[in-house]
Amino acid sequence: MPLLGDYLIVSGFLFAIGLAGVLLRRNLLIIFMGLELMLNAANLSLVAFARHGVTAFGAPDYNAQVLVFFIITVAAAEVAVGLAIIVALYRLRQTTHVEDLNRMKF
């Protein structure tokens, strides 16, 4: 049986890879994909904790799974709005490269 710590380590690595995508890539779409990876890392650790903290009846903690359901819903809404913003930006400037979008840079 894998331990709880194994799942937490894997979830932390997934979060770190997503953070690497956000920090190191310059394409807005890839940055967005990195954000999705980070959200999924949080979901994975939540589900692992739900399975670890069984209730008095010996069932997994379904409250945590409901929270994961809410996170997935919010992430879907966020993707729709974010991609619409990227499309509007592309119409205006013909680029999705963050270094070409420095109008507000001090």
Partner: protein, 167 residues
């Protein structure tokens, strides 16, 4: 048996997540992201969270990634041209990452419950969908309706954002 599933799925998920960051072509990144999400749904199944696994496949690997691929095709992005790298920024990013990974390792190792295996369930074959549904419509009824309003607002927002002129 479960431990083999766990390691195969984790390596697949982390490897394709690395591919998302490394590939230069956005379509390749999106396809590896789909693979990563599918492996993650397998990990949910090893944790007895069948409903979340199915939702992961339907919503993430299905709807969200179709949206991503649609936008990538719509914008017709070429393979990124190589630009001069800002070396200070790259090293700064890598240093932040190394510190972050070190911190995660420290926290997980010092967490007392992380060495425990998962307790056995009282019986196998819980009906995930009905349990989550009862919790969703009972305990979490108000947040559920608020989420519905959020989806409505985001739909209207997308329609307004994607009009021809933003006036």
């Amino acid at each position: 048996m479960l431990i083999i599933q766990f390691w195969v799925l984790s390596v697949l998920m982390l490897g394709s997540a690395v591919c998302v960051v490394v590939f230069r072509n956005a379509v390749n990144s999106a396809m590896s992201l789909v693979l990563s999400f599918l492996a993650l749904s397998g990990l949910y199944v090893t944790l007895d969270a069948f409903f979340i696994g199915i939702i992961q496949v339907l919503v993430y690997a299905g709807a969200v990634m179709v949206l991503f691929l649609f936008i990538i095709m719509l914008l017709d992005l070429k393979v990124e041209a190589r630009r001069t790298l800002n070396l200070a920024a790259v090293f700064g990013g890598l240093a932040v990452l190394a510190g972050f990974v070190f911190l995660i390792g420290q926290i997980v190792l010092s967490f007392p419950a992380s060495g425990e295996s998962f307790p056995a369930l009282a019986r196998t074959g819980y009906s995930d969908v009905s349990e989550v549904g009862v919790a969703l419509f009972g305990n979490f009824n108000l947040p559920f309706q608020v989420i519905g309003v959020l989806l409505l607002v985001s739909t209207i927002g997308v329609v307004i954002l994607s009009r021809r002129s933003l006036r």
